[in-house]
């Protein structure tokens, strides 16, 4: 049975911008969620529709490379628990919904890397209800060809002294189109909370379309929130310098794009996965160690 997958900007804005939400029709509903529990690292190879519930104390690494897939993931971090989730998206048409509930002193670390997909929609909602709960996100993307990449991240901070930190690094090439909606939502009662969000996008070709919507919603006085976004071109001086060192321009462009994502890749924290991601980026030296084990 067909099902609709929708994402929504928490506060709609001007319609002409086309950023208020996204809808995809999927051929089927996702399966019932499988429970993942325990400690240590779990690696999942995802090539079809899947759903998971992840409880605290573990690191889950998902390699998502389906032609078409609907992925649902829920993170449940109870008091003092920590979850790490790494998601590597390099399939064609993938819709992903990720939710998380963080209790007192709980923490979630999210690393997401999106590479070369044709139509990827990702919707993430992090509910930080717990006092001193913490959330960090390191997100990287390389979109090329005619790729469509639609990212929606909503961090709801209700817990006192909760802390969020979101860093997004991306590269858009050729005719790629991307929307990143990042929201930090400070709810009333979140006294002492702080949240920071930053997106930095490198645009390398004239036909790319880059839309960025960095939202802060605030209903509490005693909070500190910041967001920043930059989008720009390759620095001509850097290109000139590297050319003067004998590196051809196509190689320079590749190098700079890889460097941009390198910071996110290093956050994976698992050498095998990092090498696999470098290989996806075309690094011939990917088999060299990139993280101290």
């Amino acid at each position: 049975m067909e099902t609709k997958f929708t994402t929504r900007l928490p506060v709609p804005t001007f319609r002409f911008l086309g950023v208020n939400g996204t809808e995809r029709v999927l051929p089927a509903e996702p399966p019932a969620p499988a429970a993942l529990s325990g400690t240590g690292i779990q690696r999942l190879d995802i090539t079809a529709d899947a759903a998971f519930t992840v409880t605290g104390g573990q690191t889950v690494i998902m390699d998502i490379h389906a032609e078409q897939a609907y992925l649902q993931t829920h993170l449940q971090a109870d008091a003092n628990e920590k979850i790490r989730l790494v998601q590597i998206f390099h399939g064609d048409c993938v819709c992903s919904r990720l939710t998380a509930d963080l209790a007192d002193h709980a923490a979630a670390e999210l690393v997401q890397i999106y590479l070369h997909g044709t139509d990827t929609v990702s919707d993430t909602e992090i509910r930080m209800n717990g006092r001193k709960s913490a959330f960090t996100a390191n997100i990287g993307y390389l979109a090329d060809g005619d790729a469509r990449l639609d990212l929606n991240l909503n961090v709801i901070q209700s817990g006192k002294k909760s802390v969020s930190d979101i860093d997004v690094q991306g590269v858009l090439r050729e005719r790629a189109r991307k929307i990143f909606r990042g929201t930090i939502d400070f709810r009333q009662g979140a006294a002492g909370a702080s949240g920071a969000e930053h997106e930095d996008v490198l645009l390398t070709d004239p036909a790319v379309v880059n839309k960025t919507v960095p939202v802060i919603l605030c209903a509490e006085e005693d909070v500190a929130g910041t967001h920043g976004a930059t989008a720009g071109q390759l620095d001509a001086r850097v290109i000139f310098y590297l050319q003067s060192r004998g590196i051809p321009e196509p190689e320079i462009r590749e190098l700079i794009a890889q460097t941009k994502l390198g910071g996110v890749i290093r956050q994976i924290g698992d050498a095998d996965t990092e090498r696999a991601v470098w290989r996806l980026l075309g690094r011939e030296d990917a088999d060299e160690p990139v993280t101290e084990e």
Binding site: C218, A219, E221
Partner: protein, 469 residues
């Protein structure tokens, strides 16, 4: 235990005085074709304008309310009086203005400002301009500053009005643009010839006195190549329990290498719905500079838009929004980079207090052909308590790789350390907080002429302490 200073209700007596309307002056409430025809008849519209009004009404009827932004449920358009007949024709001699209208503007300080710091003044009372004057030397330089209706009937300007009126903001833009097209009345027309630099500002002041009424003035400004103009717009209304509506429209045409600074101190009463539309188009090397202070109204939707159509055109928006009790102010700016090497800068501050809701909303779009463009957006929000709300909803839409775009925003509260420091220098807590908020707003006050910066600081002080003393 930490205690906060109590903030008193605002004494708005400076703006809250009013005079009763004669019922015979009011057209029936509601927006119908009959009322539109009656307005058109009253104003002696040319045929094209009569047809334009009726066409706009059709669009209004078909257009939905915006599905985003603050609720406007309290606004019943069937109860709004769209047009109020003038008590007198437009005057160029202050002594000819009817006594109660004259007293209104004198209490608001308009004639004094004209004498001391302005090149010309227009004063609109309800639906029509009642006074318009421009200094002799300014008129001799070729600058035209008059009411829009007079210009429309003047053979020298009629064609200019026809080719520019609601071309930047067409009635199809949104529901209240369509409403404006149907019922517009009053407003100013300014024409600055090529090469003329008007170093002292012109000002229009809009006063809505009648209860349950709407004000729909239209401002059309054309600044030719290499010219300069600073135009100031002020607005206020007394408070009623019935909702009032302001759906004005501002269209600005900035020529090559010309500069237009458009400053607004908006202080509508807190029963008003301020659904205003402002838009500028800027030619090669031209500049549009918006300076905006939003203090009044119950609900505001206000996003001045700059369309940079010429190579090297530049837009700046500097704004402050102060949302107090019962206010939901949704403000910001839109910039369209449509040509190469254009640049823009948005710098806004917002303050929320006593349950007020302040939203910064922006859109920066960079078209494919706008290579070499640059834009920076900075917005800062200050929360003064936890019953208020402050949101920022910026969007960037970039369609070329040859652009550098930056955005930064932060939200926070008044630093306890700063309050403590000021209190250690002898200020009480309330005064310390008011001083910090005034400092927070200095991005706008330093861009205004001294008299207006003082008015704005007084408004902030009113909001913070309930007195100007």
């Amino acid at each position: 235990m930490k205690q906060k200073a109590q903030v008193a209700d605002i004494d708005r007596s400076l703006y809250d005085f009013r005079y009763d309307e004669d019922a015979a002056d009011l057209l029936a409430s509601g927006i119908t074709p009959e009322i539109i025809r009656e307005i058109s008849e009253e104003k002696g519209d040319p045929e094209w304008m009569r047809a334009f009004r009726l066409h706009s009404l059709e669009i209004f009827a078909k257009t939905e309310m915006p599905p985003w932004g603050p609720p406007v449920d309290g606004l019943n358009l069937d109860n709004i009086v769209a047009y109020i007949r003038p008590k007198s024709r437009m005057n160029t001699d202050w002594n000819d203005v009817p006594e109660n209208i004259k007293e209104t503007f004198e209490r608001l300080g308009i004639p004094q400002a004209e004498r001391e710091s302005l090149a010309g003044v227009g004063a609109q009372y309800d639906s029509e301009l009642v006074y318009h004057n421009v200094r002799k030397e300014v008129a001799e330089s070729g600058v035209v500053y008059t009411d829009l209706e007079s210009a429309m009937h003047d053979p020298r300007f009629a064609e200019m009005i026809r080719t520019h009126f609601m071309k930047l903001v067409p009635p199809t833009d949104h529901k209240f643009a369509a409403l404006h097209g149907a019922v517009w009345s009053g407003g100013s027309f300014v024409y600055v010839p090529a090469g003329v630099r008007l170093e002292i500002p012109l000002q229009s002041y809009f006063r809505l006195n009648a209860k349950g009424a709407g004000q729909f003035e239209h401002t059309l400004i054309i600044v030719e190549d290499d010219a300069y103009l600073h135009f100031i717009e002020g607005c206020s209304a007394p408070k009623y329990y019935e909702a009032g509506l302001h759906a004005g429209c501002v269209e600005l045409y900035v020529g090559k290498r010309a500069t237009l600074r458009y400053s607004t101190i908006e202080n509508w009463s807190k029963n008003m719905y301020n659904l205003n539309t402002k838009r500028a188009v800027v030619a090669e090397g031209g500049r549009i500079e918006w300076v905006s202070g939003s203090f009044g109204s119950h609900v505001s939707y206000l996003y001045p838009m700059s369309i940079l159509n010429g190579r090297g055109a530049h837009a700046e928006f500097t704004g402050i929004t102060f949302a107090g009790a019962g206010q939901n102010l949704d403000t910001g700016a839109k910039i369209v980079h449509n040509a190469p090497e254009t640049s823009s800068h948005i710098d806004t501050k917002s303050i929320s207090k006593s349950g007020g809701i302040s939203t910064f909303r922006s859109a920066v779009t960079v078209a494919e052909q706008a290579f070499g463009s640059r834009s920076s957006v900075s917005c800062e929000s200050l929360m003064l308590d936890s019953i208020s709300r402050s949101d920022t909803v910026p969007v960037m839409d970039i369609r070329t790789d040859q652009a550098d775009i930056g955005h930064e925003a932060k939200i926070g509260r008044i630093s306890d350390d700063a309050v403590f420091y000021l209190m250690s220098r002898g200020l009480d807590e309330q005064s310390a907080r008011a001083m910090i908020v005034s400092g927070f707003a200095d991005n706008v006050s330093k861009e205004l002429p001294l008299e207006y910066a003082m008015e704005m600081n007084n408004l902030i002080r009113l909001e913070m302490t309930g007195s100007t003393g």
